[in-house]
Amino acid sequence: MRHVCVVCGYVYDPAQGDPVAGVAAGTAFEALPDSWVCPECGAATEMFEPVEEAGA
């Protein structure tokens, strides 16, 4: 599921991963390493919320 950073609005999309941080496409949000932070603002994963997908 996609997750949005409530501080800056960055959306983590498992389909994309976070290639700059070495997170492969297909990595679930829950499987991100503890050291992972929001690439745009540096917030930890507690600052993310699931995005309810329309029609999902």
Partner: protein, 385 residues
């Protein structure tokens, strides 16, 4: 018909989100992004991490080099745009090159505002906005002992944390009588102060800087009440001003920022503006999420899609370093019955109306309750349930 050429000045979040949105809307157009910085798109919010060595500059990049190729975006770093000729549809670049465009985005951002006090031009006075500012600070701080940060807003506090992390003794000077006055009540502000104080940061509140005097390689910061703070480094964090002169020089309407309509179009045909440089419906946002949303909207508008940008809702959630801050609704003392409590390093303040419904909430520290509070407030339900 040959492909349209889109030119974008500025490779910040507004410029890059716009480039991506153009590409998603117009598969054939040529896209050129120009920046006077030597770095491709990076997280400006996080450059404090470079100052104290938590991150290397290249670790703050927000796109892989391959992304620009895949999106067919020509990124030209280290190139300053010196003029716009809107009637001819071309840019004048430093060095004399002329670059034609069919649609132009001005996404030139903002620059720090330094109040005109005496000594503001001393070499020890710095600001932090660009990656090169952060690298320059990183390189000088190991030789320094004491820093004064002028401005105790969100950014000033972040910078204070970075400098303290780099080993400096840091004093924050703030004109208001408490920290984050726009976001927090006195008790919440006091907790933030206490948490940062434990990291060795000192505060002088309700303080007005009257001027700086040179003192060796550093300066003495004079305050209106007579205090004098010696510093090897003075970091000014007193707000930003939109970078408007490029657009203004071409004749675009400028108020405090470059004036744009709901399509992010300026008063000049074919010229758009977005991000920290733009003023929309009288608002200057100066924040990342708004710049990103404007970038996405303007990219679609430039590529001809119907767009109505109605503004950005300011996030209720902030962080100061790793301290969470959440405020929502009506939080004044007169807005209802106030219940404030502190558990360890977490502070919670709830405001309820006569019927017991939650009308406002403030959290500092842990934001674990944030979601439940939002739900209760939206639904007009009692909280805790």
């Amino acid at each position: 018909m040959s492909a349209r050429h889109y030119a974008i000045v500025g490779a910040g979040v507004a410029g890059i989100e716009a480039a991506a949105a153009i590409r998603a809307t117009d598969a054939d157009g040529r896209i050129t992004v120009l920046t006077d910085e030597g770095w491709p798109y990076y997280s400006r919010i996080r450059i404090g991490e470079v100052v104290d060595g938590r991150a290397l500059p290249q670790a703050l990049a927000l796109r892989l080099p391959a992304w620009y190729d895949e999106q067919r975006i020509a990124l030209r770093t280290g190139v300053r745009v010196e003029g716009i000729d809107a009637s001819a549809g071309c840019l004048r670049l430093a060095g004399g090159e002329v670059l034609g465009y069919d649609a132009l985005l001005v996404a030139t951002g903002a620059r720090p505002f330094v109040p005109p006090f005496a000594g503001a031009d001393l070499p020890c006075v710095r600001t932090l906005r660009r990656m090169d500012d952060a690298i320059a600070l990183r390189d000088v701080v190991p030789a320094l002992r004491r820093a004064v940060v002028i401005g105790g807003g969100l950014l000033g506090l972040e910078l204070a944390v970075s400098l303290a992390g780099a080993g400096l003794g840091v004093t924050v000077v703030e004109v208001a009588d408490r920290l984050l006055p726009r976001q927090l009540d006195p008790a919440g502000g006091a907790l933030v102060r206490e948490l940062l104080g434990r990291r060795g940061i000192a505060f002088v509140l309700a303080a007005t800087v009257t001027g700086l005097r040179p003192d060796g390689a550093g300066a003495v910061v004079d305050l209106a009440d007579g205090q004098a703070l010696p510093a090897d480094l003075v970091l000014v964090s007193a707000g930003v001003r939109p970078v408007t002169e490029l657009a203004a020089g071409a004749g675009a309407q400028v108020a405090r920022g470059i004036v744009v309509d709901d399509r992010l179009a300026t008063s000049l045909p074919g010229v758009f503006a977005a991000g920290d440089c733009a003023e929309h419906r009288g608002e200057l946002y100066g924040i990342w999420p708004a710049s990103g949303e404007q970038g996405k909207a303007v990219g679609r508008a430039m590529a001809g899609a119907p767009v109505t940008y109605a503004g950005t809702v300011r996030s209720a959630t902030l962080k100061v370093s790793d301290i969470g801050v959440f405020t929502m609704g009506r939080t004044g003392d007169d807005d209802g019955a106030v219940q404030a409590d502190r558990t360890g390093d977490d502070y919670r303040r709830l405001v309820r109306d006569a019927e017991g419904r939650l009308v406002g909430a403030t959290l500092v520290g842990s934001l674990a309750e944030r979601r439940a509070i939002l739900v209760a407030m939206m639904a007009g339900k009692p909280y805790p349930a």
